[in-house]
Subunit: 389 residues, 2 copies
C-alpha cells in the first residue's frame, strides 16, 4: 500500500516554484483580483484587455475560453503560452483554459462553483466596484449554518448573513431576505462571486438599507443536465436524483421554520422577501406567487425565463394572475432587474404582467452587462435599498 | 468590445453534457465524497484502489499525481483516459491531473486551497470517518468574520466557530482556541478539509468536550516560495510581500483583542489555547512560548519542525526553555500529535523538550497516516477533549 512518507510540504514547495517566479510584467497592467497568492497572471490593461499565461512546454494547443468566446494562446521558446484578449466587458466572468482539448481551470486564479463545476473566474474592474468592495466599515457576518433536513434526510448547509450589530443587540429582531443562486451554482455563490455581504455592509454604513438577515440556501439545481430540470414548474430535484421534492416544499416546510427558530427574525410575511438570479429568479416567482401568505417582497434578477415556454401564465401559480388585484394589494415590492446585453426576456415578462393588470413593477437595467454576476451584484445593490421600507 | 450576449446558461448547459453521462460504473465501487454534483468519478474500491477518469480525446499523455506519486492513465477508443491506482492509504489527499505536462485540477471534484493553489482533493474512507461526519446533532456554526487590520491596512477574514447554544445563551461566555492551518493553506482549511466543525459538534453531542469558540485566521504563509519564509523565527510576511510583520504581532496585537471584543469570550490566558498543523504548529510554539501571559494550552499537530535547524532552542522564545519550571507551572496542557508515517520530527522535538525539563507533554500518534489532513482531524479530535478542563 502506498503511503506518502515524504513530507508533503517538500512536494508542495516544488509545486509553487514555477518558471514564472521573478519575471517582469507588462507595464500599465494590474494582476486580476482573483489571482491566487503569489500569482501575477492574468493581468488586465486599463482598456480591459486581459493577458492570460500558462507554462506548458509539452502542450500542443492551449486556449482561453471565456463563457464560450475562445482566445488561442501562443507558445514562446520557454514553453510559456500567452494571449492578450480584446477588451472584455467589465464584471465577473467564469472562464476556463483548454489544454489539448481538455477544459481545465486556470492554476493561477481562485475557482468558483458555477456550471456545476469549479470554474476559474476573473473580475474586470467596473466603475462601481466600490459598491461591492470590502471597506473599513462595520461588517455583517456570513455564517455557514448546518441543519438536518427531514425531507432530504441529510445534513444541509445554508449561508446566513447577519447585519452589523446583530450580536450586540440580543433583543432586536430582523426582517429576512431569502436570496437564491442560479442554475449550476450553489449556496456559496452570493457570498463569493456575489459579494453580497460587502454590498449590504456598504449600504448599511451609508444608511441606505434596513438591517436584515439574508439566507442563501442550495436551490438543488446543480449537477443536473439543464433539460432534466422541469422548465414548466421550476421543479428541481435533489443532487442525488433519488427523489423529487420541489425546492418550494423545502423552503416553505423546512427552511423558513428552521431560520425563524435559529435566528431573531420577524416571522411574518410583511418582513420576509425572496429574490433570486436566473433560475433562482424563476424559483422566486414560483415560490412567492404560490405562497403569497409567506412573502410581501419579490426580486427577480435576470430571472424571468418563464416566457420562453409561451405557456399561459394565468394558469400557473394557482391561477393567481387571474386576480392581479391580489398581487397589487398584497405585494409591497415587485422588483425586476436585468443586464442590458442579455436579451429582453425580463422585459417581456414584465410587459406580460403589466398587461394582466399587475401594477407598480419596479424595473432596473444594468448598463453594459450580460447574464453575469456584475448584473446581479448591481441588482442586489438596487433592490436591497427598496426592501422592508 | 466583446460582450457575451448569448445567455450564459446555454453555454453552461453544454459544459455539463459530457460523454460520461449515463454510462455504467464498475461494480463494488463508490463515488468519492469529493465529487462535484452530477459527477461519478473518481470512484473508490473497498480495498482503497481509486479509479480516476478524464475525457480528453486530443491529449497525448494524462496522469494522476497524488502528492508526488504519479499514475499514468490509459486512453480508450472513445477518448476517455482511465487509471486504477494501487490501494491508497485512508485520509484526505490533495491531487492533480497532469495533461500533456500541465498540472491542472480534476474537473470532477471540488477544489481545496492548498499549496497556494486550488487543488483537487479526495477522501479515502477511514474507519473513524464518523468522528468527522455531519450527523443529526446540534450544529455549531462557522462564520466568515471580516475585520479591518490596521497593521496590514486591509480588510481581513477569519473563520470563527461558535458552539451550539451560543446564540440562545446571550449571557454565557466561552474559552477560545486559536487554530492555524499549514504552509500554502489559508483560513478556509480547518472548516473545509479539516471538518473541524463536525469534529467539535460530535464531541459536544457526546459530552466529551467543553463548549468553545474556535478562531481560524490566515497565517500569511500562502503564495510564498517555501524558502522565503524565515525558518528560524517562523516569521511570515504578507501575501503582497510589501511589508514584513510577523504573524505573532498580528495575532497578539490585533486578532485577540478583536475577537475578545466581537465574541463572548472569557478573555484571559486560562481560557485561551493555540494549536496549529505543520507550519501552523511552528507558529504555535513561537507565539505561545513568546507570550506565556496570553495562553495556557498548546497543541502542535505535525508541528515540530524547529529541530531540523539544529538550533539551540534554549536561545529561542526569549530563553524560556532555560526555565522549564515556568512552562511546567504555567502551561495547563502541552499536547503534540503526529502521523505514524511522516517521520519522527515531532517525537524528536518532544524528546528535546523533555530533556530540557519540560514535564507532562501529552503525545499522540495517528496510526497509518502521513503529513495530511486525516492526521490533523484526528489530532483535533483528541486534543479538543483535553482542552479547558
Amino acid at each position: 500500500m502506498f503511503r506518502h512518507t515524504k513530507l508533503l510540504i517538500l512536494v508542495l514547495a516544488a509545486i509553487t516554484t514555477g518558471p514564472l517566479a521573478g519575471q517582469s510584467v507588462p507595464a500599465n497592467t494590474t494582476a486580476a483580483s482573483n489571482c491566487l497568492p503569489g500569482k501575477s497572471y492574468p493581468r488586465i490593461y486599463p482598456d480591459q484587455r486581459i493577458i492570460f499565461q500558462l507554462h506548458a512546454p509539452d502542450a500542443k494547443e492551449v486556449l482561453v475560453d471565456i463563457v464560450g468566446k475562445k482566445f488561442p494562446m501562443q507558445k514562446d521558446t520557454s514553453g510559456t503560452w500567452t494571449v492578450t484578449t480584446e477588451p472584455i466587458v467589465e464584471g465577473f466572468h467564469y472562464y476556463a483554459l483548454n489544454v489539448d482539448g481538455v477544459r481545465v481551470s486556470d492554476p493561477s486564479t481562485y475557482t468558483y462553483f458555477g456550471a456545476s463545476a469549479a470554474l476559474s473566474g476573473i473580475d474586470v474592474p467596473a466603475p462601481d466596484d466600490m459598491d461591492f468592495a470590502a471597506k473599513d466599515v462595520a461588517h455583517g457576518q456570513v455564517q455557514a449554518h448546518y441543519y438536518y433536513s427531514g425531507i432530504r434526510q441529510a445534513t444541509r448547509r445554508c449561508f446566513v448573513y447577519t447585519p452589523p450589530g446583530y450580536d450586540e443587540n440580543p433583543g432586536k429582531r430582523y426582517p429576512v431576505l431569502y436570496l437564491q443562486h442560479g442554475w449550476g451554482e450553489d449556496e456559496t455563490g452570493w457570498s463569493t462571486q456575489g459579494k453580497m455581504n460587502f454590498i449590504l455592509d456598504n449600504l448599511l454604513a451609508e444608511g441606505k438599507a434596513e438591517p436584515m438577515i439574508v439566507v442563501m440556501d442550495n436551490g438543488d439545481i446543480a449537477g443536473l443536465p439543464f433539460n432534466v430540470v422541469n422548465w414548466d414548474s421550476a421543479q428541481s430535484v435533489t443532487s442525488t436524483g433519488k427523489d423529487k421534492v420541489e425546492f418550494q416544499d423545502l423552503i416553505i416546510r423546512e427552511i423558513i421554520p428552521m431560520i425563524d427558530e435559529s435566528f431573531r427574525t420577524i416571522p411574518d410575511r410583511d418582513h420576509r422577501a425572496m429574490a433570486g438570479l436566473s433560475w433562482g429568479g424563476l424559483q422566486t416567482f414560483e415560490i412567492v406567487f404560490n405562497h403569497m401568505d409567506q412573502f410581501a417582497y419579490l426580486g427577480a434578477f435576470s430571472g424571468a425565463l418563464r416566457l420562453r415556454d409561451n405557456v399561459d401564465i394565468t394558469e400557473l401559480y394557482g391561477g393567481l394572475l387571474k386576480k392581479p388585484e391580489v398581487v397589487n394589494r398584497d405585494m409591497k415590492l415587485m422588483w425586476m432587474g436585468t443586464g442590458s446585453e442579455e436579451g429582453n426576456w425580463s422585459q417581456g415578462f414584465r410587459d406580460k404582467l403589466v398587461e394582466l393588470g399587475v401594477q407598480n413593477i419596479q424595473f432596473y437595467v444594468s448598463p453594459g452587462t450580460a447574464h453575469e454576476w456584475l448584473t446581479w451584484r448591481r441588482c442586489l445593490h438596487e433592490f436591497a435599498q427598496k426592501l422592508f421600507k
